[in-house]
């Protein structure tokens, strides 16, 4: 069953009064439990697509419907609330809160959701175990390696029990061993908890593991392959 429906999605940026078409009529649907890679060269519209899917930006035209909700029609506050409960983000540059420890980073999202302190501590421990770094709970991001930081970022993305996770180039800054470990973790979580993962990537290792690969070019979907 499709949880995400995207219809005729357009996004035009105005750069120095010259319109730049980042997305040019994208129609896609995503089912629950997908492990999908969006593949494209730089500037082809992957990040723009993820931003629109995550409600971080507004489309110029078209609609984004997630679980029956048109997120492009929500107010800013409603979108924030929607993101908090439905979407997990993993960024290329990890983007952890530098002044919080690994477990605090994970718990922070749950605190925003209003989850009790005890429950937060339990889930944070579980997630750190799931991503394989239970011993790093009290360590701040800058004292962790890139791979470890990205594992914390994945754990944080899953802390709110989201319907799907949007990952923008999550392996771009990682070495091959860290990439392999991280992908294994995400694949396991995908299978075990049926969480939908959508990656924007041009990393061949991610593409290899994806069950669906969507290729973008010039803001359009040119290929949609289910394996």
């Amino acid at each position: 069953m499709s949880i995400i429906r995207i219809k005729n999605l357009h996004k035009v940026y105005s750069q120095k009064q010259i319109p730049v078409k980042a997305l040019n009529g994208v129609d896609l649907t995503f089912d629950e439990g997908e492990f999908t890679a969006l593949v494209a060269p730089s500037g082809a519209g992957k990040t723009t697509f993820l931003n629109l899917l995550g409600g971080l930006d507004l489309p110029t035209e078209g609609s984004v419907e997630i679980g029956g909700v048109r997120i492009d029609q929500l107010s800013s506050a409603e979108k924030t609330k929607f993101r908090l409960t439905n979407i997990g983000f993993v960024f290329q540059a990890y983007n952890l809160i530098p002044v919080l420890t690994a477990s605090e980073n994970i718990e922070f999202i749950m605190e925003l959701q209003g989850i009790s302190k005890r429950e937060r501590a339990v889930r944070s421990r579980e997630l750190l175990e799931a991503v394989g770094i239970p011993d790093k709970a009290n360590v701040r991001p800058l004292q962790l390696s890139g791979g470890q930081q990205q594992r914390v970022a994945v754990a944080r993305a899953l802390a709110s029990k989201p319907k799907f996770v949007l990952a923008d180039e999550p392996t771009a800054n990682l070495d091959s061993k860290s990439t392999e470990n991280l992908l294994d973790i995400m694949l396991q979580l995908n299978k075990k908890e049926n969480i939908t993962f959508i990656f924007a990537t041009h990393d061949a290792r991610v593409v290899k593991m994806a069950r669906r690969v969507i290729t973008f070019e010039d803001g359009k979907v040119i290929n949609d392959e289910v394996r």
Binding site: S76, K81, R83, F89, P98, L100
Partner: protein
């Protein structure tokens, strides 16, 4: 957790934070210490003004103060007995007051002569404790007089020097007598020292031809200085036909001291805080601009705009509070320290004494004032946080995430 993030954010750039905190410490220290210094100074003036010059309350016939008519006396003995039965009054003492010409072998000057009950008057005002030479009406048998140091200087008087006092009696005839200096006093106010002399009421009574038991004025000392106005109002109920005035009415300039002082202190502290506030705003704007990407991320993961606002406000307020509180604490410690030892301004003693001020200042801490300053620091922190916080709120999450 937002509070925790805000607190830890302050220490991400310790040097920058400490520079802002140091500026706040210096500013607040200067603000608090200057205000406690001024407050102590003014309170000293107020205390000496009331306890030496005016007393807490005075009673006299209406018009006496303006006309200085020696015939405006009233029966005071019964009233004094009634007053002293009041629980709020330490002592009440009658006085005869006359304007006179005083002449020594050297010179003659115009002066106010106060005829006092030597024993009781010293319980109301403390001139008898300000003697620098001689004694309070002892050591001279006939017509002793206690003069201020300033008058003694002007008339070149020493202990036991003779002086002639001339004034009009109740019949309008010129009269006078010879007095001898029994004591010389020195207060903080050279004007008072040069314009007043004290004689025994019995001596003045005879010369003025005023019957016994009569006074021109009753001076009163209350048990609690804060209840002066209440006591004044209750006296007014039974002192019919007489004018009852508190020190505020007798010497309005003393009353203005406290009122203007409070206003002055707050204006002064607000100017300091305004200058510091701009520094804090500048720092926090830098902080927000440096963290655009991070703020974008926080918005992306679900932090609401009001929570972002809250975080910036907490951060700014805590910065202001840390600096402000250390500055206030340092100001209070210095006040305690100098409040005991005093600050010597004797270099300017002459000028200060002419205005009635002491040259050794004892800074005084005032809870209401210091808590007001702390409140203003917090307020400045809040105000200074608004603009940077609004800047943060205007960020678009997707654009913020793209910034480096």
């Amino acid at each position: 957790m937002i509070l925790k993030i805000a607190w830890r954010n302050i220490w991400r750039n310790p040097l920058r934070s400490w520079i802002v905190i140091a500026a706040l410490i210096v500013g607040m220290y200067a603000g608090v210490f200057t205000t406690t210094f001024m407050y102590g100074w003014m309170m000293q003036r107020l205390k000496s003004g009331i306890e030496t010059e005016t007393s807490h309350i005075q009673i006299q016939k209406p018009g006496f103060k303006l006309a200085e008519d020696v015939n405006l006396f009233f029966e005071s003995d019964t009233l004094i007995r009634d007053l002293e039965r009041q629980g709020d009054i330490v002592c009440a003492s009658g006085r005869l007051v006359v304007s006179a010409m005083v002449a020594s072998a050297e010179k003659a000057v115009g002066i106010q002569v106060l005829g006092v009950d030597a024993g009781k008057d010293s319980l109301v005002v403390d001139v008898s404790e300000k003697l620098v030479e001689g004694a309070w009406f002892s050591g001279v048998k006939r017509h002793p007089v206690v003069v201020g140091q300033e008058l003694a200087k002007e008339l070149k008087l020493k202990l036991r020097s003779k002086l002639i006092v001339r004034f009009q009696d109740c019949n309008g005839d010129f009269t006078g007598g010879a007095f001898r200096v029994a004591g010389i006093f020195k207060t903080n106010n050279t004007g008072f020292d040069g314009g007043n002399m004290f004689v025994r009421d019995a001596d003045l009574q005879k010369l003025l031809l005023i019957p016994k038991g009569m006074s021109h004025q009753i001076v009163i000392r209350c048990t609690d200085p804060t209840r002066v106005d209440i006591v004044r109002n209750s006296i007014e109920q039974f002192a019919k036909g007489l004018r009852v005035e508190s020190w505020r009415e007798i010497s309005p300039e003393l009353g203005y001291i406290t009122e203007t002082m409070n206003a002055y202190m707050y204006v002064f502290v607000m100017i300091i805080l305004m200058a510091l506030g701009f520094g804090v705003v500048n720092t926090m704007l830098m902080v927000v601009m440096e963290r655009v990407h991070e703020i974008g991320m926080l918005m992306a993961i679900g932090m609401k705009r009001h929570q972002i606002f809250q975080m910036i406000v907490y951060e700014t307020s805590m910065l202001a509070l840390v600096g402000g509180l250390i500055g206030v604490a340092a100001g209070i410690i210095t006040t305690h320290w100098t409040g005991k030892s005093g600050i010597n301004l004797s270099m300017w003693a002459e000028g200060l004494a002419e205005m009635g001020y002491d040259s050794i200042i004892y800074p005084q801490y005032n809870f209401q004032m210091v808590s007001g300053v702390v409140g203003l620091v917090l307020f400045t922190g809040l105000v200074a946080s608004v603009y940077p916080a609004i800047k943060a709120l205007k960020l678009n999450p997707s654009q913020a995430l793209q910034s480096v």
